[in-house]
């Protein structure tokens, strides 16, 4: 008969721990709705939303480590062994032990894992996915390789100075960092410098970069950061146009740009190699991200490894996307996501997009002051990345002002420059924050 009671105790209804998990399941359903019905970056938000629901199934523990599952379900003797493994002299509930986990040394974690294993507890499915895909930092890098293999640097090579637009738009990242530490300094939020850097990267408008940075600097915020990054990327057609129009005159929006020169295959092959050498000389901290990106691009352009390039663009990136999305979803567990910080992240994220957009446009106007060959400032907003959505927005707003003016290709230059720019920013921030002891 006790099995019957056990079965009831196991059932979800008996285990809902307050309204948190129900809220998170509703949020997961909301993400699925946006992805499927509103086409919000569905390739990522379908797996993330589904993973978020799975992570909040009460009693299933899919998003928890073996140690966390042992703490949640274990009897007093498991708790006592766990406390001993973590050198805790005194504890009252399992929450006290859980709070000690983030500060445990490698030896203590190892001992805690052995306690969990001896008691028969295993890590949840999503926790395993997270460890392999994101904890190892491999999945975002593999996605970045695939993105590299899909990127055409032709428009950028035809007009290299549009790279400055991609640089300027990264100001959105750093202004947001400043905003986050400001909120901390004012006591409104409690972000560390590492948190601030991870939040800022939302302004990079580049999913894998944002996931990579937050997995290294602020893993507990990863769920909110990834959701904000992908949602705002989907919202680019709504966020950017008002800012672009406010900062430009009708005349500026009508500027016509001359057609781009054709770019030879050799230039396209040389470009990723040049980026790689520049990384080697000046920015080793960006080597993983930009290295994989350039590797993907070189595979595409060199023309002798099409098998590998095709696989990087299809089977490999698709498989990685499935597990990356589910893994991000594991960070939507209620106790990690339902936190005032999440609201701060969502607010700061949209500010980051806005400032990045504005600075791209302003930079284009500044460049026009110093250059004969005028550029249409509308392509500046594409510098935030959000490839290829932001470039399409530039094109659309441009067509509204001048129906003969096709800006799409011109906007692709700053668009892909923005990917490089935010990878550079990511490298700098990781390196600096780690040396700050963050």
């Amino acid at each position: 008969m006790e099995s019957l009671i056990g079965l009831w105790n196991d059932s979800g209804l008996a285990q809902f721990t307050g309204p948190g998990q129900i809220s998170m399941i509703l949020i997961g359903l909301g993400l699925l709705y946006l992805a499927i019905n509103k086409n919000f970056e569905p390739l990522l938000l379908v797996p993330i939303g589904f993973g978020g629901i799975l992570a909040n199934i009460p009693g299933a523990g899919l998003a928890y480590s073996a140690v966390e599952n042992a703490l949640l379900s274990g009897g007093p003797e498991v708790l006592s062994a766990m406390a001993k493994a973590l050198n805790l002299a005194a504890y009252e509930t399992y929450a006290d032990i859980k709070a000690a986990l983030p500060n445990a040394s490698a030896e203590q974690l190892f001992a805690a894992n052995q306690v969990a294993a001896n008691a028969g507890y295993d890590s949840g499915m999503l926790y395993k996915f997270y460890s392999v895909a994101i904890g190892s930092t491999i999945a975002p890098l593999v996605i970045f390789m695939g993105v590299g293999a899909m990127t055409d640097f032709g428009p950028l090579l035809a007009n290299p100075k549009t790279m400055f637009l991609g640089a300027a738009a990264q100001f959105g990242i750093f202004a947001t960092v400043l905003g986050a530490v400001g909120l901390s300094a004012m006591g409104i939020m409690d972000f560390t410098i590492a948190d601030a850097a991870a939040i800022g990267i939302i302004g990079g408008a580049d999913g894998p970069t944002a996931i990579y940075v937050s997995s290294l600097l602020a893993p507990e915020l990863l769920g909110a950061i990834a959701v904000a990054a992908y949602s705002y990327m989907a919202l680019v057609p709504m966020i950017q146009p008002p800012i672009m129009k406010a900062l430009t005159t009708e005349e500026e929006r009508k500027i016509t740009m001359t057609q781009l020169r054709p770019v030879s295959k050799r230039e396209k092959i040389a470009f990723p190699v040049i980026v790689l050498i520049a990384v080697a000389l000046f920015l080793p901290s960006a080597a993983p991200l930009l290295g994989m990106f350039c590797f993907g691009n070189l595979m595409k352009e060199c023309g002798v490894v099409d098998r590998l390039s095709d696989t990087a663009q299809n089977a490999l990136i698709n498989v990685t996307t499935i597990f990356l999305g589910l893994s991000v979803g594991s960070k939507l567990a209620a106790d990690k996501f339902l936190d005032p910080k999440t609201l701060g992240i969502l607010a700061l994220g949209i500010v980051a997009f806005g400032i990045g957009t504005a600075m791209g446009v302003v930079m284009a106007k500044i460049m026009n002051k110093f250059s004969e060959q005028k550029i249409n400032p509308l392509i500046g907003s594409a510098g935030v990345s959000a490839v290829p959505m932001a470039a399409r927005v530039s094109n659309k707003v441009g067509l509204e002002a001048n129906p003969q003016n096709f800006l799409l290709m011109h906007a692709m230059g700053p668009n892909v420059a923005g990917v490089i720019g935010s990878a550079v920013a990511a490298g700098v921030m990781i390196s600096m924050v780690q040396s700050m002891g963050g």
């Binding site: 055409d152 054709p262 030879s264 295959k265 230039e267 040049i274 000046f282 290829p388």
Partner: protein, 83 residues
């Protein structure tokens, strides 16, 4: 500590933004040099497709042009024989 985190944030902004600009400036210069070098010393027939979006489109309709061309040729040949 509050002063501290603010100054860390300012440091991050100054050095971060600086690095981004320096790095992309280096790339602009290196790319420009490389392009003129390639155009001068290693000329080649220019790539036929100057424009392509970095998106992974599903390969839909790929066979259509070929298909239509083949059908057109078949029908043309057929018509020629009828005349």
């Amino acid at each position: 500590m509050q002063q501290d985190i603010m100054s860390q944030g300012v440091d991050l902004m100054l050095f971060g933004m600086g690095t981004v600009f320096v790095f992309l400036t280096v790339l602009v210069i290196a790319t420009t040099i490389m392009s003129s070098f390639v155009q001068r010393f290693l000329p080649e027939a220019p790539a036929p497709e100057p424009t392509a979006a970095p998106a992974a489109a599903a390969p839909t309709g790929v066979t259509d042009p070929k298909l239509l061309a083949i059908i057109k040729a078949a029908v043309d040949q057929h018509r020629a024989k009828h005349k």
